[in-house]
Amino acid sequence: MKILVAVKRVIDYNVQVRVKEDGTGVVTDNVKMSTNPPDDNAVEEAVKIKESGKAKEIVAVTVGEEKAQETVRKALAVGADRGIHIKVDGIIEPLAVSKILQKIVEKEKPDLVFMGKQAIDDDCNQTGQMLSALLNWPQATFASKIEVKENKLEIIREVDEGLETIEVNVPAVVTCDLRLNEPRYASLPNIMKAKKKPIEQINASDLGVDTKQRIEQIKVEEPPKRKAGIKVANVAELVQKLKNEAKVI
C-alpha cells in the first residue's frame, strides 16, 4: 500500500495570535511556525502502518510558500520516504488545495490519503472531505482509531454524540483526530537522513488548477475583549456572587 500524507505549515499552536493593525490579517512576521498539529498525527499513523508491514511507501505533500517545505522535511524525519512541495503564494482556499491534491493523487496513485481533521489557522475543516468528494472516494473524518483490513479500513470517528465506527473501501481519505496516536519526535540521525530524502517541487500554476480566491477576506479584527473579572477569597463568597450579583444560580 502507498500512503499520501498532506501536511500544512501554520502558526505554532502555542503562539498567541495577534491581529494586524490594518485589519488585513494576523501577524506572521517573526512568529514561530510549525506543522498543523493533527497533521503530525496523520504522519505518525502512516509511519505506524508502514512499520506494521501494511504499507510500502509514504509520500508527504504540502501546498504553500517556499518555507512550507519545512513541514515535509519534518515528515521525512519521522519516517516518510519522499516529499512533494506544491509551491503557491498567498491565501489558498481548501477547495483549491483539494483540487491540487487531486492532481497529485492522480499522479501518485496512493491507496490512502491522510491529513489532519482541521487546520488550526483558518479552522475550515474542509480539505479532506473535499478531496474525497472530487476523487469519489469514501471519507473517514475525525478518526481516533484506524484498523487496516483487506481492501478496507475500519475507523472509529469522534462525533458529538460519542464514537462512531464505520468501514470504508480503499482507496479512501482519512482525516485524523489528535487522539489517534502520539506523534513521535524525530531523532537527530533521522533528521540528518531526512536531508538526503528527495522533495519534488511543483509550481501550482503548472498543474492547471484554478486557485483563484472565491472568498474575499474583507477584514480581520480582534474579537471583543472580556472585561477583567475579580478574584474571590473563598467558596462562600463565590456562591454568594453567583447567586446575588451574576444571578446565574
Binding site: Y13, N14, Q16, V17, V19, V26, P94, L95, K117, I120, D123, C124, N125, Q126, G128, Q129, M130, L131, A133, N136, P138, Q139, A140, T141, F142, S144, E158, D160, E161, G162, E164, T165, I166, D177, L178, R179, R214, I215, E216, Q217, I218, K219, V220, E221, E222, P223, R226, K227, G229, I230, K231, V232, N234, V235, L238, L242, K243, A246, V248, I249
Partner: protein, 317 residues
C-alpha cells in the same frame, strides 16, 4: 432564490442545533426550505413543518440515508440544491463531515462556522481558535455555509404548517458502511445547549475524581465538560471535550475546574456569559477570562462548593 437547510436528526427527532441553524438561515433569506432525509423519518419531517420560519419541507426516505453517510448524503444534497442560492447546515460534527463534500461537488468554496450574517454573501467567522474574527465575502453563485450553532438563538418550534413534499433520493454509493454508534446516554442537559456547564481539566488527576464535578452538576442541572488534556488522559469520554477541536459552548455559567486555560480550550468557552475559574495556580491563563476566579485546591473547593449550594433555599433550573 430560496435557501436550503440540511436538518440533522436521528430519524425520530431533530437534533437541537438544527433550530439554531434555521435562525441563521432565515437571516440570509426568509424563503427557507429544509431537507429532512433519513430512514423512516416522517415524524421528523412533520416536526420540522411545524417550525414557523420553515416554508417547505423536503422529505426523503430511504434505508441508505439512515446513518447519514456523506457518500450517500452529499449526492442527494447536490441533486436537490439546483434551485437554491445557499445550502446551510450546522457546524457540528454532522455539518463538518457533510458540507465540504457537498461544496466540492458543487465547485463552491465553503464558508465554515459563521457567527454572524452580515448580508446574503458576507459573513463573520472566527479564525485562529477565535483569536481573530474574519469578515468574508463569497463570490460563488451557490454558497455552502455552516453555522456555529451557539451564535444564533434556536428558532421557535410550534405554530407553523409548512407543506411536506416527498422527494426521491439519489443512488446509494456502497463505498462506505456504517457499523455502530456508541452514544453516551445521560439524563443531564446536552453540553452544547446547557444553561450551566461545569468542566474539569488535568487538575482533576483521575476519572474517579470527576465525581466531585458530577455531584455539583447534579445540583445545578449542569452539563459536564472537559479540557482536551482530561479527555486525552482518559478521565472522561471525547463527547465532553470543549475547545477549538471539540465543542463550542456558550452557557450562562461556565465553571472551569483544574483547567489552566490553553488558547485551544478558551476557544470553546470564552463567549460564556459568566465564567468561574477554580485553580490552585494563580497565574493560570484561565483567570484572564474569568469573571470570578478562586485560587484554591479543587479537592477542597469542590466539596465546599457543594456544601454552599446545599445551603441555598432555591437554585435556578
Amino acid at each position: 432564490m430560496s435557501v436550503l437547510l440540511i436538518a440533522e436528526h436521528n430519524n425520530k427527532e431533530i437534533r437541537p442545533f438544527t433550530l439554531n441553524a434555521i435562525t441563521a438561515a432565515t437571516q440570509i433569506d426568509s424563503d427557507l426550505h429544509v431537507l429532512v432525509a433519513g430512514n423512516s423519518c416522517a415524524d421528523v419531517a412533520k416536526t420540522v413543518s411545524e417550525i414557523p420560519s420553515v416554508k417547505k419541507v423536503l422529505h426523503v426516505d430511504a434505508p441508505h440515508y439512515e446513518n447519514f453517510l456523506p457518500e450517500n448524503f452529499a449526492p442527494l444534497a447536490v441533486k436537490i440544491s439546483e434551485n437554491y442560492s445557499h445550502i446551510i447546515s450546522s457546524a457540528n460534527t454532522f455539518g463538518k463531515n457533510l458540507m465540504p463534500r457537498v461544496a466540492a461537488l458543487l465547485d463552491t468554496s465553503q464558508v465554515s462556522d459563521i457567527i454572524k450574517v452580515v448580508s446574503p454573501d458576507t459573513f463573520i467567522r472566527p479564525i485562529y481558535a477565535g483569536n481573530a474574527f474574519a469578515t468574508v465575502k463569497s463570490s460563488d453563485s451557490k454558497k455552502c455555509v455552516t453555522i456555529r450553532p451557539t451564535s444564533f438563538e434556536p428558532a421557535a418550534t410550534s405554530g407553523g404548517s409548512a407543506p411536506v413534499e416527498k422527494t426521491d433520493g439519489a443512488e446509494a454509493s456502497n463505498i462506505s458502511k456504517f457499523i455502530k454508534r456508541e452514544e453516551v446516554k445521560s439524563d443531564r442537559p446536552e453540553l452544547g445547549t446547557a444553561r450551566i456547564v461545569i468542566s474539569g481539566g488535568r487538575g482533576m488527576q483521575s476519572g474517579d475524581n470527576f465525581k466531585l464535578i458530577t455531584a455539583i452538576a447534579d445540583k445545578l442541572n449542569a452539563a459536564i465538560g472537559a479540557s482536551r488534556a482530561a479527555v486525552d488522559a482518559g478521565y472522561i469520554t471525547n463527547d465532553h471535550q470543549v475547545g477549538q477541536t471539540g465543542k463550542v459552548v456558550v452557557p450562562d455559567l461556565y465553571i472551569a475546574v483544574g483547567i489552566s486555560g490553553a488558547i485551544q480550550h478558551l476557544a470553546g468557552m470564552k463567549e460564556s456569559k459568566v465564567i468561574v475559574a477554580i485553580n490552585k495556580d494563580g497565574e493560570a491563563p484561565i483567570f484572564s477570562v474569568a469573571d470570578y476566579g478562586l485560587e484554591a485546591d479543587l479537592f477542597e473547593a469542590l466539596p465546599q462548593f457543594l456544601e454552599e449550594l446545599n445551603k441555598l433555599n432555591t437554585i435556578q433550573k
